[in-house]
Symmetry: C2
Subunit: 276 residues, 2 copies
């Protein structure tokens, strides 16, 4: 079994940490990592601060995921400092990148003739040495990519439409290379059983089916205790759907033999109600 | 000016990293930190893995925020391993806590007479040595608090209703101690100006009003370039609202003098449209 490629996300922005904006970007990207068989190891949300960005990037690079994506802080204003923080972490300098400058120029020349390339606009084309711009067809600040040893570092804007455009155009083609490794998965609903009663049967099933991954989520309530459990089963290697079904059948058998006894008049424990 | 107390959040759960669940818990808590004058320094999302939790907790403790909150992984199943990860990070052992056991017992005795305290249920009352349970009036697994040097570490369940109940009951009273330090803030909308044209005026205003914090968010589009900007201004020390208004008036004056020139027929740049 080939090891699933790994990734981390660093999301930069005070607006995320003061509770003004919910970080939906990381969630959107996480789904795509899963779809293409990648394992997202960690998400880190950082303030607009050079030491915070430097430390966050240094820590992530030390953990050596295959891919490190930063989100936010690429714009023209003073508090957009992701690339400077990356340059400090890499101990390299920031340089005006001609290719990036051409992208920014092309964008502004359409709208405003008189102001030209202000310092703020040149800032968006100033990248860490060795980096390359990724085209942004929706906004102005290009994405940025740089190779750090074995790690591919990619910086994307925080504006969701721009992030998605660059991710779709430039990052997904890279992820597709691993698509064959995509996990098989199945979700079942278990009614009338509390999570702590499920645990022993789940532990036995886990041991009987190594390589499969089980995660239970309490979803409903009965008598003050949750009793609809959503069980998510998947495999990081290309397991067949039949193997997952076998594991679930095994779990349900274990459940029906378990010591569980709910209050009278409840539905039969372990009943499977939904499957996707 | 008294330094604003600081916090970090560690959110544990594969479901967050495979894109099944959006981490709304951290966002909900972030809002409350801001409301009570606390600064949230970082959010870290980790997998259900002992080394990941150990490393995440160790790193957060090293950064010495006043408060470290972990979310998730307190339940009865095999993959709920937050407390074990914390115990490893603190180099301490896990022990059955009599007070926590009484809380778990009280919860289950209402529902099921025959099964009693299974291993899975005792697990929820097994805490790092020196920790104390926090009552969970909505679910079963108690919250957990432990003092680590100058840092208060609090572990809460990942189920939102349970997290909110314990946070409201046990954490907010702690945050309230700093309420007098709560930031004053104001948001204005600027129409008909692009972010890169705003940047120079914003930089000057920033210099003229040290202690105030400015953050611009592009929100609308005109001619393919965003041109509604939401500007969020706040102060971490108890500045008067008058001071914020003065800073905004200053910025608007700078903007009207700036070199900005939009396409003809557009609205006047720098027009303030909304305020809250």
């Amino acid at each position: 079994m080939k090891k699933s490629p790994t990734a981390e996300i660093i999301s930069v922005g005070n607006e995320l940490l003061i509770g003004h904006t919910l970080d939906t970007n990381s969630h959107w990207i996480a789904k795509r990592f899963t779809r293409f068989g990648w394992t997202l190891q960690r998400i880190t949300v950082l303030r607009d601060s050079l030491p915070a960005i430097r430390d966050g990037v240094t820590g992530a690079l030390r953990r050596k995921s295959d891919l490190l994506i930063t989100l936010g802080g690429l714009g023209p204003t003073h508090d957009d400092m992701t690339l400077k923080g990356i340059a400090i972490a890499l101990d390299t300098r920031l340089m005006l990148n001609p290719e990036a400058l051409a992208m920014v120029k092309a964008r502004y020349s359409k709208l405003e003739a008189s102001t030209g390339l202000t310092r703020s606009r040149r800032k968006m084309a100033t990248l860490p040495e060795g980096a390359e711009p990724l085209p942004n067809i929706v906004g102005t600040a290009p994405g940025v990519t740089i190779k750090v040893g074995t790690i591919r570092l990619i910086s994307l804007p925080g504006v969701p439409s721009e992030m998605k455009a660059i991710f779709t155009g430039s990052v997904i083609p890279m992820l597709r290379a691993s698509e064959a490794e995509a996990p098989k998965e199945v979700t079942v609903g278990l009614v009338g059983i509390v999570e702590s009663a499920l645990a022993p049967a789940l532990d036995r099933t886990r041991k009987a089916f190594p390589g499969l991954y089980f995660k239970s989520h309490p979803r409903g309530r009965e008598g003050g205790i949750r009793s609809l459990i959503q069980l998510h089963v998947y495999s990081v290697d290309p397991a067949s759907r039949a193997k997952l079904d076998k594991a679930i059948a095994y779990l349900l058998r274990k459940l029906s033999k378990s010591a569980y006894s709910g209050p009278k008049g409840q539905r039969k424990p372990g009943k499977k109600v939904l499957e996707s």
